[in-house]
């Protein structure tokens, strides 16, 4: 029983697509291979990419996390408020008093505030994971509620106002160019590598696959599902918070409205990458490719000056197209 040729295609077909897209783009636009454009493409892909990493864990485990988009907004505002010492203070009811440019009074020193926000993100993930596991409620519903809650929290927290005053060290996370490589990309690819190793070469990682593939089977092979079922949400929340902080850097301020609908982009990227929504099957590599494919198509449409609206349609077509590709290539299923 050696892997069938179409299995190989099924696994690597996506990479060919990516390659093809790169070539097409290069042909279509002379600008494509310009340093600026590539840097651009990668930077913009990185944010979705990081969210997609966390999402990959969740989907591999057989769940889904709709709350990441809101988490980005919340983390972004939370980070800014940590810097304002405005932590946990709701603003007056008929808030509409203009702050002016608020003065920056960090209540936590630099590394700590970041860690704090990341911890909060992870904690929210923990909540979703726990509820979904303990009460056996479909993660779609739980994270949907958490999504609504978190967004509401973020927006009412500052009544929707962006909070200004994010230190340059954070902006560096978004704009820095060590060795001419965009900082977000370094973070993204670095994280991807770690996740890849984690999922492929640790027992816990394999356990996530196992629980996703069949909880009972995993249990009988001596795996206690609880943590495997909860951890992915923690990872997802963590990455969402990370993105939130980086976005604060990118905007130079915290904005509670940031990240709306990003959860769907992340999910799309993951499924395009060949991770099965029914769990237990997929890979980080695929996700990275998925993110790149989406970013690439948007990028080339941009270069061709195709307006935003057709772009959205294109996105829809890619999602269905890529999945159709998968299902066509791996048609050994269905007894």
């Amino acid at each position: 029983m050696k892997p069938k040729p179409n299995r190989v295609l099924a696994d690597y077909g996506l990479y060919f697509v990516l390659l093809a897209l790169v070539l097409v783009s290069a042909i279509l636009s002379p600008l494509f291979f310009s340093y600026n454009n590539l840097a651009n493409l990668l930077t913009q892909a990185s944010f979705t990419g990081l969210l997609a990493l966390g999402m990959t864990f969740v989907i591999l485990m057989g769940g889904i996390d709709l709350s990441v988009g809101s988490m980005v907004g919340f983390a972004s505002i939370l980070y800014a408020t940590v810097l304002h010492g405005a932590l946990f203070t709701f603003m007056p009811k008929e808030i509409f008093v203009y702050q002016g440019a608020p003065k920056l009074t960090p209540i936590l020193p630099l590394p700590l505030d970041v860690l704090f926000v990341l911890a909060v993100g992870a904690f929210f993930g923990l909540i979703s994971g726990f509820i979904s596991y303990r009460f056996r409620i479909h993660s779609f519903i739980v994270t949907l509620c958490v999504m609504i809650f978190t967004r509401g929290l973020a927006v009412s927290y500052t009544h929707g106002q962006p909070l200004f005053g994010v230190p340059d060290s954070i902006s560096y996370l978004a704009y820095g160019l060590p060795a001419k490589i965009p900082m977000p990309t370094i973070i993204w690819l670095g994280a991807s590598l770690l996740c890849l190793l984690f999922l492929r070469y640790t027992r816990f990682g394999r356990g996530i696959y196992a629980v996703g593939g069949g909880e009972e089977a995993a249990r009988l092979s001596g795996i206690q599902p609880a943590w495997y079922r909860i951890f992915p949400y923690i990872a997802s929340g963590f990455f969402a918070a990370l993105v939130g902080i980086m976005m604060s850097g990118r905007m130079g301020c915290g904005d509670p409205k940031i990240g709306q609908g990003w959860e769907l982009d992340a999910i799309a990227a993951v499924v395009i990458g060949g991770t099965s929504l029914s769990g237990g099957k997929g890979s980080i590599g695929g996700t990275v490719v998925g993110v790149l494919i989406m970013g690439l198509v948007i990028n080339i449409l941009n270069l061709l000056e195709i307006q935003a609206y057709p772009q959205a349609m294109a996105k829809g077509i890619i999602i269905v197209g890529a999945l159709a590709l998968h299902s066509v290539l791996s048609r050994r299923r269905s007894r």
């Binding site: 697509v17 093809a20 897209l21 097409v24 783009s25 279509l28 636009s29 600008l31 310009s34 600026n36 454009n37 651009n40 930077t43 913009q44 944010f47 008929e94 808030i95 509409f96 008093v97 203009y98 500052t158 009544h159 929707g160 106002q161 962006p162 200004f164 902006s171 978004a174 704009y175 976005m247 850097g249 990118r250 905007m251 130079g252 301020c253 904005d255 409205k257 940031i258 990240g259 709306q260 198509v297 990028n299 080339i300 449409l301 941009n302 270069l303 061709l304 000056e305 195709i306 307006q307 935003a308 057709p310 294109a314 077509i317 890619i318 197209g321 890529a322 590709l325 066509v328 290539l329």
Partner: protein, 315 residues
């Protein structure tokens, strides 16, 4: 297999349609916040027309009220090698870092319609605060001299236009002589869109019912929406005021109904000014005289509306 081909084809087709837009004129970029109301659409058209008239190429990108998309838009404009940028910023601060980057790349930025935080060439638009004050004056002097409850519908909290227009008005209400006479029931956000204006107004009606005496909206589109909602609920006695001088608003004011006032904020004029200013700067190295080019803000009420109403204006 088939799908991949299809994918490539679709991209190719779109490309074929759009290749051949290469010329040697100056290229400027306009990062627009949104196209969700006539005011913005007018800006879009004005920008294209003026640029064409000045023999410049212009790329307009629409951020759909999403700051992160706006940043991405500006980045891709830079990639396309624009010589100058016009930015109608989603939030006041949000574009600061990217504008810094633009400056570093030697691309001048003209802020339009909404003041910017950061290092830009010039701001073209009305004095948002003043517009708010004009309305405030009108409320306190004419509409509700005895005081009353006001419902506030702003665009986006982070948006300088909303901040100015809102706080300008509030600053009048805070004057000693008005202290305690007026109450702000609530502040809703409807991102300058008529539909959202209507929906928020409905929420407002559900929450405050006939407590509401006056609805003040940060632009006319939302005001028109709010008015529709009030009409549906049969609350013709609640007063409505907006800003921008959209011609539908003029029409309403002329009817002499509940829609009482607006403030002229001619998006066409603003955009024209901005484009010319930028092109002059790039072409003839003309430094703008002042940092902020303020266009006229005039209160329009039933008394003077005839003067400004133009049936076939774009906006």
């Amino acid at each position: 297999m088939k799908k991949r081909v299809l994918l490539v084809l679709s991209v190719l087709l779109i490309a074929a349609a759009l290749l051949g837009a290469q010329a040697k004129k100056i290229l400027i970029g306009f990062s627009h916040v949104s196209m969700n109301n006539p005011y913005y659409l007018a800006m879009d058209k004005a920008a294209r027309d003026t640029a064409a008239a000045r023999g410049a190429d212009i790329i307009v990108l629409n951020a759909e009220e999403d700051i992160s998309k706006q940043i991405a838009d500006i980045e891709s404009l830079m990639v396309k090698g624009v010589k100058g940028l016009i930015v109608n910023s989603t939030t006041e601060y949000g574009t600061m870092p990217i504008i810094k980057k633009a400056k570093a790349m030697g691309i001048p930025v003209v802020a339009i319609d909404r003041p910017l935080y950061g290092d830009y060439l010039a701001y073209v638009g009305i004095d948002q605060w003043k517009a708010g004050e004009l309305q405030g004056e009108f409320f306190t002097k004419k509409l509700l001299p005895a005081g009353g409850n006001i419902l506030l519908i702003i665009g986006d909290p982070g948006c300088p236009a909303s901040i100015g227009r809102g706080n300008g008005m509030l600053s009048i209400l805070d004057r000693p002589e008005n202290k305690g006479k007026y109450k702000i029931l609530a502040t809703y956000k409807a991102s300058y869109n008529q539909m959202l204006g209507m929906q928020k107004m409905e929420e407002g009606i559900a929450a405050y019912g006939d407590k509401i005496d006056l609805v003040y909206c940060a632009n006319d589109s939302m005001a028109l929406g709010a008015q529709a909602a009030l009409a549906n609920a049969g609350m013709e006695d609640v007063l409505v005021a907006g800003i921008d001088g959209q011609k539908e608003a003029y029409a309403e004011i002329m009817k002499g109904g509940q829609y009482k006032s607006t403030v002229i904020n001619n998006s066409w004029e603003i955009t024209q000014k901005a484009v010319n200013l930028l092109v002059d700067y790039l072409d003839k190295k003309v430094q703008p005289k002042e940092k902020s080019v303020i266009t006229g803000t005039i209160l329009v009420t039933a008394d003077n509306v005839k003067k400004y109403y133009d049936q076939n204006a774009v906006f």
